[in-house]
Symmetry: C2
Subunit: 649 residues, 2 copies
């Protein structure tokens, strides 16, 4: 194990001969360990690891990051975007003392081990789980921004592959970084000119330097195998001694895939293929290392997985709740406005000193009702442009930097377009509050390409994500305030149109001043003994109207509001299952939403009741929500009719 | 109605005074109609429409596209990417005679009308349904490429907004266009410097011209309100009289939002807000038009929707099927290889003249087993680089240009990352064959960020998409050959690892020479009277092992292979529901896959049987599939144990 950094803060003018010697020795050792780990696993990415190792060592040699407290707030953040060079990264981190190297070499890519094929958050020293290319820079912009907002003077490094520069999300992140003046952000591209399929220039030609320049970055081109040159470039970027000191800097480092092992150098086949045992032995010789490959193989055979890093729990700020707002029908409100108001209240109560509540959107400030927030707290509001992929990852990362982050856009953009970014956010145990407006047919006149009818179907496929759909502005208010206090990820979905206030039988707001939202708890809007409408979102109102109609005919049917879709209130569904027929109703694809969730609970309970799902059966045209609902049978009349059909049976 | 084009093929040197006068008159008329339509609908995007209209008119004035046969193969393709300027586009198309203008004005954005808020494929003259920004250029590259592959000398125009240039997907499309030498592609950006939220330079600064230049495009900057200047620029691009005649050309047209109506000019509030009745009247005056707004409003009140364009059915080539391949256990094959072999066979049988079968991937040629195809048919193989968003849209569009298009990548990239692109492909009724490998825990050592366990959950939320999961290499072979012959979209998913051959009780391959795949039909691998395992993909083999174990104990349980997930064989499930306990088993998220589909069928039938879902309960670590399956209880032992538990009850 080596002691790094050599000199924290890149404050020397150059590296000494001795430093270079030391770094060269480390490079050889780390390269050997990366080869060992992947050869022992018979799987992994040695080629890129060997070209990235000099870059990693150069960063860690001067950065403010320590194994003793890898998550301290005042640290330089080092995010690895091309997560497949995990053996190289783990070798460097192990060398620095973040964990025992030996365990890593023996456990890499084994079932049950945290040393996965792509770098994982839970491994000490890793800042963000990556592997899906093109997301690291977005995560890095969030860290850099977080440091600026929190007055932390540290730097964020983002190491990337050259192939992944093809991903469009990177160009989005580049622009965001320039707009927000993230001069504490240093990107380093491992430019070995090879990707899995061959030469980058053949697979997908690209002028990386010009692309960054066009977007306003400083670009430093450097020999990525020369530690002195790397040191000087990093020091310049670190201290903003660059052409535009207010802009972020790219270091484009010319490297060699498989560097230091002659027979795999510049061979793209070793991008993702480990060396054989004999090749590994030869590599040790070339690297002047004394590691005995056979001995390691023998040890591995006897080894059982012992590494069990605890799951990282990111910090989450405590949030002051101001007085909830109570809306009446005369307010003629949509849920979006109630959201915007609650968000403003939260900021007023929490952002007077260091901000706690941040809001971001993608060119939809007014539509998602963030305009009041933006006016009152311009420094805490992020207008990300029409760049949803970047924004989702950025917001996700930002939410683990000690902020409560609300990210809002239309349903189609926040659900369908960025599902994979959200998947990786949740996998990184982010605390993001994704609030999407304009969901369902409720989007109205914007038409079918904007009909987000898959938010339950998609998001129930993710872990570590709560899903809530408010039934009216009062419940919206309470859901927003609640999720702001909860660590973890929340999706809150709402339509565009005005939403009537759900009332008790007494005529008071159902979600009154005394109501508190609890994820996993459904609301019995009306009790009834002959059957149950289970509804969510804008359909709760429709179901309530059906209930009233049936009541006039002497039929007594319950209305259950399933505002929390995940976790699901299985007990309430069971209760409904003991109460006669069930009709589920939702502004969502009929096969993959609430109805399906309820069906699964019922079948699990072996509750065989008359059951029908009502929902969206096909994309519809433009039109007012009322007309579109009518065309798909989502009306009180039809609900009442269907229920009566069941009761006649 | 006006007669366009003035001169097909942009072959004159300049526009005459008379032409300009005519175009100016048309501009005023189209602008008036765009305002009328949106004011009558009380909804829509007039601002951008008015800035785009001169560009649209300039394109159509010389393009080879006619209302008589809008889908003829030999035509110039005009794709509108910023679909929200629909009133402007519809006004121009109506003016050209594609449909009665009057209907459009009265029906725009009304429920039941095809004149939706964002341009729709079914409206004659529209080439691609858009509205989710950033996808049009990808679609355009496909058309340009298709023309090149088919020897069609026509051009493809892609009109885009300036705000949407922020979308990363556009940078991916730019590179693709240059790599494939698409000098028959002309992009025109409506550069009015405003997006919904305000000035582009404030929302998200970007140097559009430099960005395209850096990627190798010709860039022509032009006054977008000057018809002569526009004509000259388009003529240059059309005839490749540009700096690099082998590259595509961008025309960056400086325009004015709300052009021609003084009180909305350069006002971003009218991006998405219609003019009031009084404003519309004033606008008619400014545009020197005699339209009577009150009269139109009165007509609209009495109007009922009458436009009912038929859904477009794109052409689909007829495919020759060569002899299927039969695999035996000694072949030790994975499904991917069977896919690659079938693809090669299809190409050999169909690509001798004009190619019919195309294949594309994102830097994963060997992993997805397209390497044999790529070697034998390099001209029909598209290496798209690590650019999945672009590739999905491009492949989708390509599939309606008279090709059978196979697009392959890993599950996480082809499902989660590009779900929204696929959503819009299916909405455009594409014929794409999306074949994803490395799905499920079966991805093995690549680890959790690469575990695609949501392909059923996500894709069952889409319409017009079949979902198939082969159980072994023989079924893979037959599924691939079958879907190649079927118009429409197919998802075929498979893991990475070797797959044993499923055998009949007689020892012959279950999917033998006589087997033909039928979507919507499940396979009874084994019949049995005491219960049923319903399995899919690699779990069929596991269920079969459980069946064998139980058989030895004298327990007679059926194995049902649900290779077709959509359409689903509800009848087979019903049959299983009459056959005792059911255990579903899948390499997929336990809540949103096969098990949930089966639960929904059973509850619909009121079949109350002992029922258990087995599947993936959390992302796992790296490891071999066998080890990962074991850790999640997906073993024959555990299946047998669970079934016995039910039978004891």
């Amino acid at each position: 194990m080596s002691q790094l950094p050599f000199y924290r803060g890149f404050s020397n003018s150059t590296l000494s001969e001795k430093d270079i010697e030391h770094l060269e020795m480390l490079r050889r050792r780390c390269s050997g360990n990366a080869i060992l780990a992947s050869t022992l696993a018979a799987s992994g990415h040695p080629g890129g690891s060997l070209s990235t190792i000099p870059l990693l060592l150069s960063i860690y040699a001067g950065s403010d990051v320590t194994p003793e407290n890898p998550w301290k707030k005042e640290r330089d953040r080092v995010i690895l975007s091309h997560g497949h060079v995990s053996p190289g990264t783990y070798s460097v981190l192990g060398e620095m003392g973040f964990f025992p190297l030996e365990d890593m070499i023996l456990e890499f890519r084994e079932a049950g081990s945290r040393y996965a094929g792509h770098v994982e958050l839970d491994v000490p020293g890793v800042e963000w789980s990556t592997g899906n290319l093109g997301q690291g820079l977005s995560a890095g912009t969030a860290s850099a921004l977080a440091c600026q907002l929190s007055g932390i003077p540290n730097r964020t490094f983002v190491l990337m592959g050259d192939g992944e520069q093809q991903k469009g999300q990177i160009s989005e992140a580049r622009r965001f970084a320039v707009k927000y003046g993230l001069n504490n952000l240093i990107a380093i591209v491992d430019y070995n000119h090879l990707q899995i399929g061959g030469k980058i220039e053949q697979i997908m030609p690209q002028n990386i330097a010009q692309g960054y320049s066009a977007d306003g970055w400083n670009v430093l081109e450097v020999d990525g195998k020369n530690f002195s040159a790397l040191y000087e470039a990093i020091a310049k970027a670190y201290h903003n001694k660059v052409e535009n000191p207010k802009a972020p800097t790219l270091i484009l480092a010319q490297t060699t895939m498989g560097y230091g092992v002659s027979f795999i150098e510049n061979n793209h086949e070793y991008h993702g293929k480990p060396l054989s045992k004999d090749q590994a032995k030869k590599a040790m010789q070339e690297l002047s290392l004394s590691e005995n490959v056979d001995e390691w193989i023998a040890r591995k055979e006897k080894h059982t997985i012992k590494t069990n890093f605890p799951h990282i729990k990111h910090t989450y700020p405590s949030v002051e709740l101001s007085e909830p707002r109570l809306y009446l029908d005369k307010d003629k409100l949509d849920n979006r406005t109630a959201y915007g108001n609650a968000l403003l209240d939260l900021a007023k109560a929490n952002n007077q000193g260091k901000p706690k509540v941040l809001a971001c959107t993608c060119d939809l400030t007014i539509s998602v009702k963030m305009d009041s927030f933006a006016k009152s707290f311009p420094q805490h509001f992020l207008e990300c442009g029409i760049q949803e992929h970047h924004s989702s990852t950025m917001a996700g990362r930002l939410s683990i930097e000690d902020f409560v982050v609300f990210f809002s856009t239309f349903g189609v953009f926040g659900v369908a377009e960025t599902y994979n970014q959200m998947r990786l956010n949740t996998y990184n145990r982010s605390n993001l509050k994704l609030v999407c407006t304009h969901i369902g047919l409720n989007v109205g006149e914007d038409g079918p390409t904007h009909q987000s009818i898959d938010y339950i179907g998609l998001f129930t496929s993710l872990f570590q994500l709560r899903i809530s759909l408010p039934a009216d502005p009062n419940q919206t208010d309470r859901i927003i305030r609640k999720v702001a206090t909860l660590p973890g990820n929340d999706f809150v979905g709402m339509g565009r149109a005005r939403s009537p206030i759900i009332l008790k039988e007494t005529g008071e707001p159902f979600f009154g001043a005394d109501y508190e939202y609890t994820p996993g708890k459904a609301d019995w809007i009306r009790r009834g003994k002959q059957g149950t409408f289970i509804a969510t979102g804008p359909m709760v109102w429709v179901a309530l109207q059906a209930h009233e109609q049936l009541k006039k005919e002497g039929i007594d049917v319950a209305v259950l509001n399933m505002a929390s879709l995940s976790p699901l209130d299985s007990q309430a569904i069971q209760e409904a299952g003991n109460n006669g027929p069930i009709i589920t109703v939702e502004d969502h694809h009929i096969q993959t939403g609430l109805g399906s969730l309820v069906a699964n609970v019922l079948i699990g309970n072996r509750q065989s009741v008359p059951f029908e799902k009502m929902g969206v059966t096909h994309y519809h045209t433009s039109g007012t929500p009322e007309k579109l609902y009518a065309k798909q049978g989502l009306t009180a009349d039809n609900l009442a009719f269907k229920m009566k059909g069941f009761l006649k049976q």
